[in-house]
């Protein structure tokens, strides 16, 4: 676990110094959310209706955006070789990377989302579900994203490929996340959706580090 925290702290420091694109995700998130009213027209009573969905889609795109270079810099400058040779296992590395990614994107999205909810005039019943689904969903995005980032390391047209690979894996999270908010607005019980999102998270926690490690092992050659 010491290795884990060393790795997380390094990634956070790099993100803070601007060495990585993780922060980009949040800026993107807020920016995109601000842009939508300009595009759609702010007067429309339509905003609260679509707000939950838009916030979730944008969160997903923001996660995707910052993922591509999760391992790329370390791959290019030879750091990945050294990380592999270190006493820390690749599984732990994967978990640390995903956790750092979540801290620099997911958590900030989480904090930003109530503000956006205000911006979109979401009914107050939607606030808690929005934050809850984000809290359950964004770690899954980071964990699953790590698999994709590792799989496409050094691939031709990596960015496109990454999007293609992650799209099917992200859609379920999106559906249940946005579904819960809609449900809450309609006054329905959203426990089932939260359970499913929690299940996704548990499955991702169990599977993703393993799969990411396997993918990284292939990328080192």
């Amino acid at each position: 676990m010491i290795g884990f925290s060393i790795l997380v702290r390094r990634d956070l420091r790099l993100a803070f110094r601007g060495g990585t694109d993780a922060m980009m995700g949040v800026i993107f998130f807020v920016l995109a959310a601000i842009l939508f009213p300009f595009g759609v027209g702010p007067d429309a009573a339509v905003l609260p209706r679509i707000g939950g969905g838009i916030i979730w889609v944008v969160a997903l795109l923001a996660a995707l955006l910052s993922l591509e270079r999760m391992f790329a810099a370390d791959h290019e400058d030879g750091s990945l070789d050294l990380l592999y040779l270190s006493p820390v296992s690749l599984g732990q590395l994967a978990l640390a990377k995903a956790f750092a990614h979540w801290l620099t994107s997911g958590v900030l999205l989480l904090i930003a989302s109530p503000v956006l909810a205000l911006l979109y005039n979401l009914p107050s019943a939607a606030f808690l579900p929005l934050v809850a689904t984000m809290a359950l969903g964004t770690p899954t995005l980071s964990l699953v994203g790590a698999i994709g980032a590792a799989l496409t390391l050094g691939a031709r047209r990596g960015g496109v490929l990454l999007a293609l690979l992650l799209l099917p894996l992200y859609i379920p999270v999106l559906i249940f996340g946005a579904g819960a908010i809609d449900g809450a607005i309609a006054g329905r019980d959203i426990t089932p959706q939260l359970m499913v999102l929690g299940g996704f998270l548990l499955a991702a926690l169990a599977l993703a580090p393993w799969a990411t490690a396997a993918a990284l092992r292939q990328a080192i050659e």
Binding site: I2, G3, I6, L7, R10, R13, L14, R17, G18, G19, A73, D74, E76, D77, G78, S79, D81, L82, L83, Y84, L85, S86, P87, V88, I220, E221
Partner: protein, 214 residues
């Protein structure tokens, strides 16, 4: 058999055989200087020995035991320096070194390592602002880190470590390597000739990869 031996080692990269049938033997306390024309497979061999590349054929033994039997043990005994400098431009030299020291469980005091390569004054400068040779020194200081720790790596695999170093720094590197050898360590160093070769001459075997290109 003590030290490192390889048996009929072969390597394929991108569907093309780089070398084949390579037999090496290196006793503790000795270095091996790998030479050979560009593209003859020196870097590939070092990566295979480090366990970064899986050999296409043959095996590698350490103290007579196949390293494939004990991957974790092998990783713990390898110190690898590649062509690239694995440094983050936005972190300072000291931060870069401290990270690797902590991750590898080396002594967290990096001062002696900086001193060994005469880069104390660069410690707090972001690597982005260092000259090519200064960066290389920071990379090499990692070797000193392991050396100054209790159970540092025994097998050093150095891929043209002297690239970009001035003569003074080459001497520092040579001294570091000689100290490692005197500790019963093993070092395999790829090179195209130069001062480092001369300084290590007395303690090194030579191996020319030219003959093994397939």
């Amino acid at each position: 058999m003590q030290g490192l031996t390889t048996h009929k080692l072969g390597c394929i990269r991108g569907e093309r055989a780089v070398f084949a049938g390579l037999d090496l033997a290196l006793k503790p306390g000795r270095a091996m200087l790998l030479s050979g024309p560009n593209g003859s497979g020196k870097s590939s061999l070092l990566r295979v020995l480090a366990g970064l590349l899986v050999p296409a054929a043959g095996r590698i033994d350490w103290e007579g035991i196949d390293i494939a039997q004990d991957r974790d043990g092998h990783r713990a005994r390898v110190a690898y320096i590649g062509h690239a400098d694995p440094l983050k431009p936005s972190l300072t030299a000291a931060e870069n070194l401290a990270f690797w020291a902590k991750l590898y469980g080396f002594d967290p005091d990096i001062e002696p390592a900086l001193f060994q390569f005469s880069i104390e004054s660069l410690a707090d400068i972001p690597v982005r602002y260092l000259s090519a040779g200064q960066r290389r020194r920071v990379t090499l200081a990692r070797l000193a880190l392991g050396q100054n720790s209790q159970a540092g790596p025994a097998l050093w695999l150095l891929d043209e470590p002297a690239t970009g170093l001035d003569p003074g720094a080459v001497s520092m590197l040579a001294n570091t390597i000689l100290a490692h050898l005197s500790n019963e360590g093993v070092a395999i160093i790829s090179t195209h000739g130069g001062r480092l070769d001369e300084l290590l001459d007395a303690s090194a075997e030579r191996f020319d990869m030219g003959g093994f290109v397939t």
